[in-house]
Amino acid sequence: MTFKKFQKILVANRGEIAVRVIRAARDLGIRTAVTYSDADRESLPVLLADEAYRVGPAASSESYLKAGAIVDLAEKIGSDALHPGYGFLAENAEFARRCRQRGVCFIGPSPEAMSLMGSKLESRRLMKAAGVAIVPGGEGPVESAAAAAVEAQAIGYPVMLKASAGGGGKGMRLVHGPDELASAFRATTSEAEASFGDASVYLEKYIERPRHVEVQIMADEHGKTVALGERECSLQRRHQKVLEESPSPAVSADMRSSMCEAAVRAAEAVGYTNAGTVEFLLASDGAFYFLEMNTRLQVEHPVTEMVTGLDLVVTQIRVAEGRPLGAEFENIEPRGHAVEVRLYAEDAFHGFIPSPGRITRLRLPEGPGIRNDCGVYEGCEVTIHYDPMLGKLIAWGPDRTTALNRLGRALSELRIEGVKTNVPLFTQLLVDPDFLAGVLDIGMLDRKLSSGELALAAQSGVAPLVAIAAALEYAERHERRAANVVSDGGRQQWREAARREAIGDRS
């Protein structure tokens, strides 16, 4: 067989994922071009790429989401392939279709598979047909308390009664047993009528404190689909993952093989190709239910790479070139344990308020078992225009304890100044007994944050150091000022201006 060999890949993204794709392409000797908005002219992907092209002003709707302009660019600069990263246009089937029409290979699944998996209803139907378990219930509205009782008996208590027009946690009621059902039905329907002007409700099995566990799959264009093990992503804040690990502390070898098998079946059901992720809700009794399939590279893909030794982005490119998955994709056994934290410019203990600004100091942790997938550099600006993720820090160890120890050590080495970060949150997590024991569920982080169980450590120990350091700076500052006043009048301003310029503050 002969295959395509890409000459140039357009990376239609920004931040750490653009950097990640550039690295993979360069490892393969493929030239890279990257898109940038006005806000990203000085960003790390631009510095690392071979070529860089402006696609518009800061607003993503005017730049990174400009599907037409981006396809035009890809064609104009002669790139034979395009990598969408994640977010932006990555799950836009229409965009993938336009790439294909213009002869630019979209590195990802076919637009057809993306569309099928993009529809929540359609994918549930397909999964059911393929024999992949979905959360029981939700077939349609229940007309009466009596009908509800029959259906609830079928799916088994506890169940949730949900307003059809509801969402975001509103208009739902937990029912523990048959005796609660009638009154709950009345309350939910009247509430639904009052809140949404639509009294219809449906039933779904209630899964208590579930985990979010997902399986990475990879499929070539020759009919081979493999599962690369699972990732535990239960640590979420407002439904956003903040820490991921592989393998999951809750998944046994048996459970892994049945989850992986289900994930492969899910992918095969839509003729899926390239990298994808099948997300499951894992109940405490070991049952797992299909949630959705993400038809793209996942933020947390590095933890899978660390335990399998594979390069998923390189594989995405190879598969898009038409190559079959090789022998290294047979009998994959995870080796050791990997954990990733997402580093955000935000004040984690003050409502996660974003903290834009210039990074005045950046010293990444290094050494054995540490990987940095970072999208920023010292001196660059974290702007207000995009998600404030700075990058990801990944730690590997032969076992979970070693991986977590290394993560803790790495966080203590990491220096980021100029913006606040969520590092203090991870530092606290690393001493949380539930987290250390691997007892997680998707509501745990929000619960612990609102109960104050996870809170900024009292730092009375460092108070004297902080006071002394501030006093030292004050003293030096006043001495410098005095010296300047004596020797040269107002030149201190020049010093300050030049200093700001030298550290790259061009605001």
Partner: protein, 167 residues
């Protein structure tokens, strides 16, 4: 040099004698000797009884300094006793110190959670600002009285615009 360092509610008396890269310090009556080395851009390597600390201090404005290290970052006030006396007198006169809080970044006020004149606790939400594609609750840094609200719901703000004044 005698200084007063305010850390939240706490106030420390610091006496500082520097000699090159060493300093004799009296902190609330206790004597400490340390050695420090500038690392550029406000960073210092500090040796204090063998223990090592790397700390960066940045002057923010007026008497305020931000001190960051492996423990995160804290904002403290450094005052000379004269200024401090004046400030205390002023505070006494005004009832207590007031502080104006400004917007971190451009955004839109989607909700106001507290009213003027209301007594608020540290950590209590004052308003919700939508910025960087997220809704962010702006919380009181300390307890006090919400003396003024400069914004209303729906209002767009620029970074640096005053939001409220805490007394």
């Amino acid at each position: 040099m005698r200084l007063i360092v305010r850390q939240g509610e706490d106030e420390k008396q610091v006496r500082l004698e520097r000699d090159g890269n060493t300093a004799q310090i009296e902190l609330d009556g206790e004597s400490v000797e340390l050695e420090f080395e500038p690392l550029g851009d406000g960073a210092r390597s500090i040796l204090w009884g063998g223990n090592h600390y790397e700390v960066t201090v940045r002057h923010i404005r007026a008497d305020r300094y931000e001190v960051s290290g492996s423990f995160g970052s804290q904002v403290v006030e450094v005052l000379d006793p004269l200024t401090h006396l004046a400030a205390t007198a002023h505070d006494a006169q005004a009832g207590m110190g007031t502080e104006q809080v400004t917007a971190y970044m451009p955004g839109r006020v989607v909700k106001v959670l507290a009213g003027e004149g209301e007594t608020v606790e540290a950590g209590q939400g004052i308003l919700v600002l939508a910025a960087m594609k997220m809704e962010n609750e702006i919380q009181a840094e300390r307890s006090g009285v919400l003396r003024r609200l400069f914004v209303t719901e729906g209002q767009a703000v620029e970074g640096g615009d005053p939001l409220y004044e805490l007394g």
